[in-house]
Symmetry: C2
Subunit: 233 residues, 2 copies
Amino acid sequence: MLSTAVFDVIRERILNGELLPGQKLKISQLAETHKVSLNVVREALNRLTGEQLVDLAPQQGFTVRALSEDDLIDLFAQRIIFEGIALRQSIINGDLEWQSRVLAAHHRLSRTPAVDPENPDRLNPEWLSRHEEFNVVMMACCGSPRLIQMVRQLAEAAALYQRALLPTSADRAERNSEHDDLLEAILEGEADKAVVILTRHLEQTRDVMLPVLRQGGGVPQANKRAAVQLVGK
Amino acid sequence: MLSTAVFDVIRERILNGELLPGQKLKISQLAETHKVSLNVVREALNRLTGEQLVDLAPQQGFTVRALSEDDLIDLFAQRIIFEGIALRQSIINGDLEWQSRVLAAHHRLSRTPAVDPENPDRLNPEWLSRHEEFNVVMMACCGSPRLIQMVRQLAEAAALYQRALLPTSADRAERNSEHDDLLEAILEGEADKAVVILTRHLEQTRDVMLPVLRQGGGVPQANKRAAVQLVGK
DNA sequence: ATAACTCATAAAATCCATTTTTTATGAGAT
DNA sequence: ATCTCATAAAAAATGGATTTTATGAGTTAT
């Protein structure tokens, strides 16, 4: 199915930061670059609105979902709640097989440099992927397909902020040690401890990004457009 | 925007039980009944997949999301967690204006007969609407747009089950008194108590539906189709 | 001179009619 | 009963028509 392929590619381009938050997604242009007809693009974009990655305003087309301070705060408040619940449940349910997968994901993450070797002022996209994978695997055993889906959606939204706002300078060593602590708590089955560490980790991630968003200098984000009525709001 | 209108109508028809869980949604047929072209319907259905009300399987088209025992249990487990959180926060944040709106919604609900006067063996659709409205208003002051959105989506999924499975006989009087207790706790600002009542209410709702789903006799639901690979799973 | 308004033009979004592919169906043969 | 294959039905994709919005030059008013 063509629209599924286009859906995946555009989704990837948004998460990669190739298509910036707030940016307009011109259908004809996307159709041309992906060598498909207009409706295929339209279909893909409609599905992306469901994933909360794209906004649709009638007669004004599609845009990449924009960043905002309020949303950043709300987003991380919900991540703390949802991921906390999912992680606790995962630790309770998880077996040896699951622990091993977490260990493996952590290893892959810890051995990937956080800063792009070729582009020292930006985070390494590969590291971001492994970070997200670590996150997904941690939650995988929570036992609830719906919870997993919601956590995945929140993490995806957060990825937009992280790719745009996370500075490379922010105490990498200290932050990586949080992953180590998290792993340790998981392997020892200490749910409470793990949730506390995760919460602190998320809070710190948010607090690093907030001032960057506030000053906004040099943040890769398309110019804000005038507020328009979005569908379904 | 035509597709938005069609989106709304189809959504309504699904929530009304006019289009049954598991039922195939033939694009050409929908296009004809709504006097629009195929692509418009397709666009609406794609957006409905984002709302988790419709499933899409490549080359097999769209179906109304089917009911299942596992999903029912999962769904209510998540409702208990997240509606609990949203309600508690709403009570903490809510001002007099909000309390008044809850009171009004409760009044509308309590004065609407739960059983359809013309169709005594089915629940009154108007009552179901007011019940959902009561629910939405209760959560409205939780302060988190994202939490509201997720709670709304969970409640919408639950509506499918309730319209299909909730018997008319299930101790209406007792269940309505739970709404009264809930209102009382909210107006007194007793968050803990309100959450306990809500939790019990949701558990009972689930437990009433489970056996009906298990035996499955006479449940309005389209015949199950062979399992197919769905997109995005 | 600047600001506000009109209106023609271009660009983009939305929708439709049609073609191409894929899947489902059922008669006839093995 | 199972398999093959022709046919019909439906999904998916295309190309293009229609409608709406954005843009900017020209005009008028302050």
